[in-house]
């Protein structure tokens, strides 16, 4: 049964790819769907790009097994969009074409800034992708009984097909379909759960308290060290606004106003989804039971599928499994296209070829880049079999928060900021996040040198300090003089290129 649903999703997405491929001929088509996406479509696509299988299956599982702490984890994923909405989205739309580096290039010396921004983008996307693919391999094995290797190759090949042939247009529609499926599945599950408690949340909470104790509804079961939780909160809050696969979505809409609309749509969907994770998690704890959840999978990833089976039988289980599959596909496709954009647009076209590459050459490199990124990720995911790579998501957010956000903020708000500051800030943020994770409990276990699982609490300030020192210790009048242009463009959209 589940196979049939999987096959339908594969078929529909491939048809979309075929349709999109006939509308993708220029680089603007390829990277940003020719800016043809409307605000609400982009909002749904952002939600589809952002809500990963880790959110859907993982958070439901964390809540089912650890209670309140799992929900606290959900909060940051939404509040982070306020930073995106109020600080980042519109200026980016007003000053860029395809990548974050486009904005920086207005005032900085192009080559070094583009090279470092591409490095940071590719690092973030790769970490995120490995985490997604490794998780996906495990999930598909649980849901369909397919081999880990086979699962990863199927997903990897599909994501490459979507991106190479359908570009951003196909990626966007895969994300929209996934978001609609995910919300439909989650709404039905929540409705069915609440119907068991006379549609009263209080009654559900009472039963949770009765069965698992009141402490299950209080913080402290999962996060023993409050600083860990604060550091993770900072990584989410500051990192979301620096995630390349989210930022590239703002270039797919025609105006800053549409970019703003799309964030609001995304916030409505993402917020509703994370609120419903409570119903999924507590519902699974009560209606499936922790013993059965742990028996199926130690980490609790099977909570939502088992809940679906308990409430709606085999068909519903098959549907929810297919939703999880679509969820994975949409996220990895978004990651491939943002990494390929950084490689082909920033590194190849502007650093190696000095901006002299022809249109057809650029789009060919973008396609080769997508295949390359896809194949490398597949190989890395195959090598990481049986490794616990969940921390790579936290690391991706930490790098985005420490390397990208300080530079975005200073470019927009600080006149003195210059090329040296941007390069120093990005490198400090990138390296400090990676080094701090290597010496953290994620990698070193109990004897770790750095006590926090997420490095953001230290690496974000380091990223800002790197950017400040790099700027103050250098002189670069060109960056200062061109600030006025970026400042006016970012805040008004005057002079926007089509």
């Amino acid at each position: 049964m589940a196979f049939l649903f999987f096959a339908i999703i594969v078929l529909i997405t491939l048809l979309i790819t075929y349709w999109a491929s006939r509308r993708t001929s220029t680089t603007a088509d390829f990277y940003v769907a020719g800016k043809s996406i409307s605000g609400w479509q982009n909002g749904i696509a952002i939600a589809g790009d952002y809500m990963s299988a880790a959110s859907f299956l993982g958070i439901a599982g964390i809540i089912a097994l650890n209670g309140f702490d799992g929900f606290m984890y959900s909060v940051g994923w939404l509040v982070a969009y306020l930073v995106v909405l109020i600080v980042v989205a519109e200026p980016l739309r007003n000053t860029g074409r395809y990548t974050l580096a486009d904005m920086l290039a207005y005032r900085m010396s192009r080559k070094p800034v583009r090279a470092v921004a591409a490095l940071s983008t590719i690092t973030i996307s790769t970490f995120y992708m490995i985490a997604q693919l490794v998780g996906a391999g495990g999930i598909i094995k649980l849901l369909l009984g397919l081999d880990y290797e086979l699962s990863i190759i199927i997903i990897g090949v599909l994501m490459i097909l979507y991106v190479v042939f359908g570009g951003m247009l196909a990626t966007t529609w895969v994300q929209i379909i996934k978001a609609v499926l995910l919300m439909t599945g989650t709404l039905i599950l929540s409705f069915l759960v609440l119907s068991k408690f006379h549609f009263s949340m209080v009654e559900m909470f009472n039963q949770v308290s009765e069965q698992y104790g009141q402490a299950f509804l209080e913080p402290g079961k999962l996060y023993k060290n409050p600083l860990d939780n604060i550091s993770l909160g900072l990584a989410l809050l500051a990192g979301t606004a620096g995630l390349p696969h989210i930022l590239i979505r703002f270039y797919t809409v025609p105006t800053a106003r549409e970019a703003r609309k799309s964030v609001v749509w995304a916030m409505l969907i993402i917020g509703a989804f994370y609120i419903m994770t409570t119903f999924l998690g507590f519902g699974a704890a009560l209606l499936v039971g922790q013993d059965k959840i742990i028996l199926a999978d130690q980490s609790g990833n099977m909570s939502a599928p088992l809940l679906a089976e308990a409430l709606g039988g085999t068909y519903f289980l098959a549907f929810i499994s297919a939703v999880a599959f679509a969820t994975i596909l949409a996220v990895v496709a978004g990651l491939v296209i943002s990494a390929a954009g950084a490689f082909a647009h920033d590194f190849y076209a502007n650093v190696l070829r000095n901006g002299k590459a022809t249109e057809s050459e650029q789009i060919r490199v973008a396609r080769y880049g997508s295949v390359g990124v896809g194949i490398i990720s597949i190989i890395l995911a195959l090598l990481c079999k049986n490794q616990n790579v969940a921390f790579l998501v936290a690391l991706a957010f930490a790098v985005a928060a420490s390397a990208n956000l300080p530079v975005i903020i200073f470019s927009l708000f600080w006149k003195r900021f210059n090329t040296y500051g941007a390069v120093a800030g990005m490198l400090t943020g990138l390296l400090s996040s990676i080094i701090l994770v290597i010496i953290s409990p994620n990698v070193m276990g109990a004897g770790a040198i750095f006590p926090l699982k997420n490095p953001a609490l230290l690496s974000v300030p380091l990223g800002f300090i790197g950017a400040i020192l790099g700027t103050l210790l250098s002189k670069d009048t060109m960056s200062e003089e061109s600030y006025t242009e970026l400042y006016v463009r970012a805040n008004t959209g005057i002079g926007m290129k089509d």
Binding site: F71, Y81, V202, E203, P219, L237, M267, L268
Partner: protein, 106 residues
């Protein structure tokens, strides 16, 4: 609209319309960011260092869950207020663009 020379950008940046626009935009950004950052970090701080909100409010539903839930509504409300504010600023920007094409920016 071709604006090749940095002088033109400087002229816009010095115009009273633009200065007013930025004043309003910055004020909103600073106020809202201060508010939501404090509200957001209050959750892990209160949950991690105190048991203040563990008191039951409705049945077994306690203060800390309600506070976590309120974060979602806080985010939605601030987003809504921002959009209203930004839509007003859009009108100022549209006016600026019109003045600019007529060369009448003061």
């Amino acid at each position: 609209m071709e604006l090749r020379h940095s002088n033109q950008w400087k002229k816009i940046a010095r115009s009273s319309e633009f200065i007013m626009l930025m004043k309003r935009r910055r004020r909103f950004q600073i106020f809202s960011a201060t508010f939501f950052v404090i509200y957001y970090f209050a959750l892990p701080v209160l949950a991690g260092y105190t048991g203040l909100l563990n008191k039951k409010v409705f049945g077994a539903m306690n203060g800390i869950y309600l506070f976590a839930l309120s974060q979602f509504f806080m985010a939605w409300i601030i987003a809504f207020i921002y959009v209203r504010h930004a839509n007003q600023l859009d009108q100022t920007i549209e006016q600026m663009k019109k003045d600019l094409s007529k060369g009448a920016l003061s």
